[in-house]
Symmetry: C2
Subunit: 254 residues, 2 copies
Amino acid sequence: MQRYFVEKEQFENNIVRILGEDARHIGKVMRGRVGDEIIVCDGAGRVVLARLESVEAGEVAAMVIEEMTETSEARFRVEIAQSLPKGDKLETVIQKCTEIGAAAFVPFLSERTVVQYDAKKEEKRLQRWGKIAKEAAEQSHRSRVPEVRQPLPYKQLLKTFANYDLVLFCYEKEDGLQLRDVVRPFAESRLEGSASMLVVVGPEGGFAEREADEAAASGAKIAGLGRRILRAETAGMAALACILYESGEMGGNQ
Amino acid sequence: MQRYFVEKEQFENNIVRILGEDARHIGKVMRGRVGDEIIVCDGAGRVVLARLESVEAGEVAAMVIEEMTETSEARFRVEIAQSLPKGDKLETVIQKCTEIGAAAFVPFLSERTVVQYDAKKEEKRLQRWGKIAKEAAEQSHRSRVPEVRQPLPYKQLLKTFANYDLVLFCYEKEDGLQLRDVVRPFAESRLEGSASMLVVVGPEGGFAEREADEAAASGAKIAGLGRRILRAETAGMAALACILYESGEMGGNQ
């Protein structure tokens, strides 16, 4: 069934109003008619089954007929911190990692970040990134839209490490740990309940050794992703898939 | 160090000749000079360290100075069978899965495949897919270039299932198995040595139930990839990353 994310304020008692592009999507693309059912999410975890009450070009009204308790959110809240990659690669990261199950995105700037960062222009990009996250969340039947945060300088990113149960810093060190060495013991110590994790991925040129040392000093676990070199935009999705696999999102944990 | 894949025939005794685009890359992009070292792979597993002997616009000659025994190939040979997706999405699949470690690609046509398949035009696409695999293999420091095969009709794909130790058919069945339920026991039964696997991924509209039944009858294990719906081009890379994680490519298997 088609799924739409709306703002909390669009719910009023048991009526939800769907506006703008989403309303047009219901009317034009889905050819929705009064009586049809859709799923509406407030993006923060509330998911309802709703029946269309009126369908107009710019506004659709639907009545909540059932609060759905099912959730498609991952038990481990994994956020992806990605050093801003070139071109539109962050869009790929956001789209694919939202499907796989990321909880939020934290772009950041590190020593070898190549792209120029311009806070003024970024406002538009941030909006675009948010839109991509929303569309991917709808498409993959998520209950929440992962938040895309403002890009942070590296020093500030380090300060956030204390907020997570585990920070996994993707960096290849000779004779260093690999992903599974860190993730499996952690998942086995958390067989129930939630946990918060941050996966930190570098830019095209990788992290400077000093940056890895600073990350470790700030509490991160340094781990490699195997012998094949993953592109900057591939590392996060591969690590995320493996973490959620290990935490039981694809079977085996019951 | 920069890595180039050449045909076996380009090796003659201890001299390797690098031609065309790769030769231009060495001369113009890398500004290679006589005496510089590069890595050359024959795409079938031979990897050598070589020293440039002559650098011309269309041809570079290099002398083999060391046979390298290190390999970056995965212990499990995992091939990706993907129902032809729309647009250039198969290119994304080939690029990302080559980085992660796929052994080969088998495009195929199934009931809900949307794209029109035209064998004549496909010749060009097949060449392009091969080029993408080669470039991704160079970039990710692979020792082999994964082969991209001719697209197969579904019935023929089913007949190849008998050639693999495990065929994993990605399909969500109510109360069905999930990826880890199948992959973990298999990996635990194969803690050493190689194994051949095929991961089968459907088109945008998914597989028909009948197709899943036929796959099971042909020996495939049917497994889901969790509660979030992955796009056609995301499923293969997520499954592949998890399989190689489980088989010990990212630590934990020593």
